[in-house]
Point group: C2
């Protein structure tokens, strides 16, 4: 009896012991862990299976990356299985064996045929019986492949997939899977809405913020292998010896997770840093300057990735000042980098205010240079021909540069899409571009296939995304910005993944495996792009925003030059009767976009200027359709809000309140967009808002007066 | 046997169960909890005693503040005692009874004589036997007093003091215990070195960041009862209806912790916001504008504290433009606030670049206005007559305004003291001013006594500090900035507390009760002011810094105008042969400072210009003494570094590494200060650096070239 009582007490013990870490509300869910949220597996049956199937770990942590493998596995399994994982060399039931044929005798001895099927830093996960014991192998040809395999296994546990009979082979489709930070040297972030830059220069190289490591973990977990740490509007000081000292510390941390550092450079660096009179790429002293500079960089950072360059664009210096073209400009840097295997990522985002259609410019500028760039140059092209609008057709350059390495630049940052205040899941936007057929060479030549190097014979290629994580506790401000970041990485690894599947993964890893949560959030995320486009710029409209890119300003000079609203109608004529930007697309797209009836309605006003009474497929005239879209956009936000509020009991209070508050802001803003645009365009259409729709709350003048300031510093 | 085995397993259970919150390295000690770190009491014997002595809690949470009392107690005791605290009404052994005579029958029925001995929001803690049960009372005349009592009790537990026989009575000595944020509307922070402003305007009023609550808790825990949330260089938009909506959310949170909100206002607000042609305080329309504005504010924030005003100072608008003096300017606002009990805090920090000694100006400007200010105006005076220098004598205004409410303004922010990079504990600096005798009226009239209202008959008074917590995880950047913040609050409550005792409290609450940790950190903190002064501006030197106030620049124009170095000697002559600022002090200080031999050497060059061969008390000449001080400053930093490194095993790895890295930076900077100043002054003294000292690493030219940019954005 007394023994039983004692037993009873012993069992209660864990309930009363809250542990040493019960501290204020610090331990609330705050989004810091993002998708690497290693909480105990909630499905008890699965948890027990996992514990049996992953009983001990066998690996050799004899390299920095294998050390990261060990640490991640330890953290992940300790958390997910809620037990202390044993590392050892005993090959028993439930052992996990990790390694490459080089660092693992067990991997080598199995003579896996999978090893020849994976490319690059691919990996395989395989359940195999050895001497009667069921063993899980995570193996690859490179240490980095093993790390990616570990994240794949942990993902299975986080999303509660069975692992009893694993047989997964996975290789990355893109060579470069990259992110671009637009971080300035003063820790401000261009289009940053989530605090200051992560890189705390004034405390480097001495102080290593733990965020650097967690950032590298998150990046590697989705396959990111390259990062440009600073703004393309580049401060030349980043390549001074003083800063390279600081940067080399970051490079070392990232190296342990298979990530190479690139730097954005200012093309006029020799002028700015060393008082040169010229930065002419043909000038031998300038060439020498860059050769010496590159040498210094590689001494500090032996695996340095290369330079990212925004030249002759929006006021940035470039080769044009010396009558040199972009190829000459890029090749000079490429020559300096070539001996070390470094790359030049040369941005194609150029435009002048003199031309009549910005959308034409990158193509007009670069197509004639095809074949002129060195092998270690990649032309980095934004997904659309304009500038990260809510919706754009793909850039025609993707089908037009068979002899020039290309990579694509997406934007995870919600520059034109509500900054860190609005809920958005961008995977469908990314997919829309990646899956677009360019009609280059043969019919099936999607943007993605070109970037995979299977259409043209590119030497290098890849995908990059502008991201803006900052010092905000949850990294991104709005927790759902994380979902686009996650999706970008997953798509760069494998663009064939479905948006929906990626969303599901992310939700399970970030929030919960609860079915209601998964289905509801998926529903919300899937509607989010349509909402964002419809309440802002439906039917192919663009650039209607304020100078801050946050609020609506259809009345502004820039907006008017893009939407071209008049009594006649609405839209930008890019057909042969207008700027003829349609000619930049390969046949049959060029003729499809030339005609209104064969132009997808989502791009209609991008390519055409149409009268207000133009008949749409729905039977509405253009005005009615436009108004309907604007109202639909707002209705979707209301729906998202309702759906989200149904999760009150299923989502932790902290993130529930946070997202709820942000949805309120989003609804306020969606209405402002809708009302501003509908009231403004009504002046030209002269037609009423159909009676079924609610009347805008205020007059146009009210909306014109709302102030939206720049960047994260938004006042409204 | 099998039962015993089962028992054994049951006991092991807690070890294997790591809990649901084992997540990445998120749970490392990161300083977020500051001194409210409620970890389990490490002393097992004490822990058990505490558990017995605090068995259940009796209180009535029928007001917002009593609700905060309950939440804090729950959080604190659950954490410190590592058990779930039971709330109920059973008066048994170990009960804790909290309340006022109004909200607690038990408190009222005891007829405590203590209640008449405490003033304001004071409290008492008392152990009392009731019906044979030992009970702990935390009682006060106000709910806020009870909250302060709770923090006092938790502090005892955190610092491992016995609580078996409590008998503590404590009342605040200062009326206003205030902090000033220099936060801008765009979330930048003037002299902010710890991230962005805590106030996330673009997400208010919808989103309530949990930091707002934790900030209020930390403030209340040290007795802070007022806060000015925005920069004294004030954006007029803070008092628009739109912003008041946002601010009222903060006000509500702070109200729950007994903290009143003040706003810094722009004196030209009627001009800026409503296109008035004038902001003349005598203009009836202007008066009406402010009366209406104040009315709107009090409708949104019924307990609004009042306005903080920086007028006619460093470019800020003020009454002078209309030929009105400071009293006329302040009284106009005071009249508008009077009906609601609001205050005007009028800053005395004024200077023009035309005068020959800035140190004289505040006194010259304000003394003649004594008695001219309304009863609800307080003149807010910086601790010294210049500007938060590492060391200044107290401002002579403190002894010179018997008929004007005064309050003091300290700076916790390390504007001139290494920003968030250097370790500093400012309590000894605060005490130096507070304990200074002004010789007003009678001999014992210290600055603190004047602020306590026991020297003159002030209506209002208090202490304020400029603080700069921001979005950085640990609030302050350098973890030790927290210690000055903590000490400021404790001294505002009771200026008689010893620096050393406050340091000890803070260390125990923030780091550990381990004796080695306590003694070593205390030693480090106690040396820190001497170090900071000695390697920067010893012997009363001032304003030697760069424009950013971070690095040394004795060669700059401003510096030269303050240190006055020449072949003749060094220092600013403020005696009757110079600017005669000494005359502003009451006798006998005026004559004491007039003469070199009776001037404390720590202020020597503040008051005197002396030849390089002037004989110091040590026997050194001035040059030797100066050099010795500079070298001593650096030696202390080396010592601090050595001492801190001895705690490697006693302090958690995260904070240990952080502080270690920052000490490295501090040593680098201390050497730069020393070498820059010694080499620069040597040009005038013409004397060698004594041989016993190491030779500066670089020539003067090297130090001149180091770039120090503004604010948190420091590059070096």
């Amino acid at each position: 009896m007394s023994k039983l009582f004692f037993l009873f007490i012993a069992f209660l013990f864990p309930i009363f012991m809250l542990g040493d870490n019960f501290i204020s509300n610090k331990n609330l869910e705050d989004g810091y862990d993002m998708w690497l949220r290693y909480v105990k597996v909630s499905n008890q049956k699965l948890l027990e299976e996992y514990r049996d199937q992953l009983s001990n770990v066998i690996l050799s942590d004899d390299s920095p990356i294998m050390n990261s493998v060990k640490k991640e596995l330890e953290m992940g399994l300790n958390g997910l299985l809620s037990k202390t994982i044993i590392f050892g060399d005993k090959l028993k039931e439930g052992a996990v064996v990790l390694g490459t044929p080089k660092n693992s005798f067990l991997v080598a001895s199995q003579k896996f045929t999978e090893l020849s099927k994976i490319s690059g830093d691919g990996y395989f996960l395989k359940t195999q019986k050895i001497k009667g014991n069921k063993v899980t192998f995570i193996a690859a040809n490179t240490d980095l492949g093993v790390l990616y395999g570990v994240f794949a296994l942990l993902r299975k546990l986080q999303t509660q997939q069975p692992i009893s009979n694993l047989n997964v082979i996975s290789s990355p489709k893109m060579e470069l899977r990259m992110v671009n930070h637009w971080d300035n040297i003063d820790r401000s972030v261009e289009r940053g809405y989530a605090g200051l830059s992560l890189w705390d220069w004034s405390k480097l190289p001495q102080h290593i913020d733990k965020r650097y490591v967690d950032y590298a973990r998150a990046s590697a977990s989705i396959g990111i292998n390259a990062i440009a740490i600073n703004n393309v509007n580049a401060d030349a000081n980043f390549i001074t010896v003083e800063f390279l000292e600081k940067i080399s510390v970051l490079a070392e941390i990232f190296r342990n997770y298979g990530i190479k550092i690139f730097l954005s450079v200012n093309y006029a660096s020799p002028v700015i840093l060393d008082n040169f009179k010229t930065a002419d790429p043909m000038n031998p002293t300038v060439k020498k300057w860059w050769i010496d500079k590159v040498d210094i960089i590689y001494r500090k950072i032996p695996d340095f990735g290369g330079f990212l360059v925004k030249a002759d664009s929006e006021g940035q210096p470039g080769p044009k000042a010396y009558n040199r073209n972009h190829a000459e400009g890029a090749n000079m840097l490429a020559e300096a980098l070539m001996p070390y295997g470094g790359l030049v990522l040369w941005r194609a985002f150029v435009y002048s205010h003199t031309q009549n259609d910005r959308v034409r410019e990158a193509y007009d500028e670069f197509v004639s240079l095809d074949g002129k760039f060195m092998d270690n140059v990649i032309l980095q092209i934004k997904n659309g021909p304009l500038d990260f609008m809510p919706r754009e057709p793909f850039s025609p350059l993707f089908g037009a540069m068979p002899k020039t390495n290309l990579m694509i630049e997406f934007q995870v940052t919600q520059e034109y899409l509500g900054n860190a205040n609005h809920l958005l899941y961008k995977a469908p936007m990314f997919k829309e571009t990646l899956d677009a057929d360019t009609f280059a060479k043969r019919k099936a030549s999607t943007v993605a296939q070109i970037l995979e190097k299977i259409v043209f014979e590119y030497k290098h290629s890849g995908m990059t995304a502008v991201i803006n994580p900052g010092t905000t506790r949850n990294w991104t401000g709005h927790p759902f910005v994380q979902s686009s970041w996650y999706a970008f990485g997953r798509l760069a690894w494998d663009y064939d993944l479905a948006s929906d599947d990626i969303a599901q993964e992310w939700i399970k890893m970030t929030f919960s495996n609860n079915k209601k949560v998964v289905n509801t959030l998926k529903e919300i995320m899937n509607q989010s792009v349509k909402a964002a486009v419809d309440y802002r710029e439906p039917l192919g409209l663009t650039h209607i925003g304020t100078g801050s890119h946050y609020g609506p300003a259809p009345w502004s000079k820039r907006s008017r030059s893009f939407h071209c609203a008049s009594k006649d109608g609405l839209g930008f004529d890019r057909t042969s009767s207008g700027s003829n930007a349609v000619e930049q697309y390969n046949f049959p797209l060029s003729s499809k976009f030339e005609k209104t009836k064969t132009t997808p309605e989502k791009y209609l006003l991008w390519f055409h200027h149409l009268p207000w009474n133009y008949k749409m497929k729905s039977g509405n005239n253009l005005w009615e359709e436009l108004v309907t879209k604007y109202y639909e956009g707002v209705e979707i936000v209301k729906k998202m809000q309702r759906e989200f509020s149904s999760l009150k009991k299923e989502i932790d209070i902290n993130r529930f309140n946070h997202v709820s508050a942000l949805l309120e802001i989003q609804l306020r803003d969606a209405k402002r967009w809708r009302d501003s645009c509908v009231l403004y365009f009504q002046q030209f259409s002269g037609m009423p808002i159909p009676e079924k729709f609610e009347v805008p709350e205020y007059k146009l003048e009210y909306y014109k007066k709302i102030e939206y300031k720049r960047n994260d510093i938004i006042i409204h």
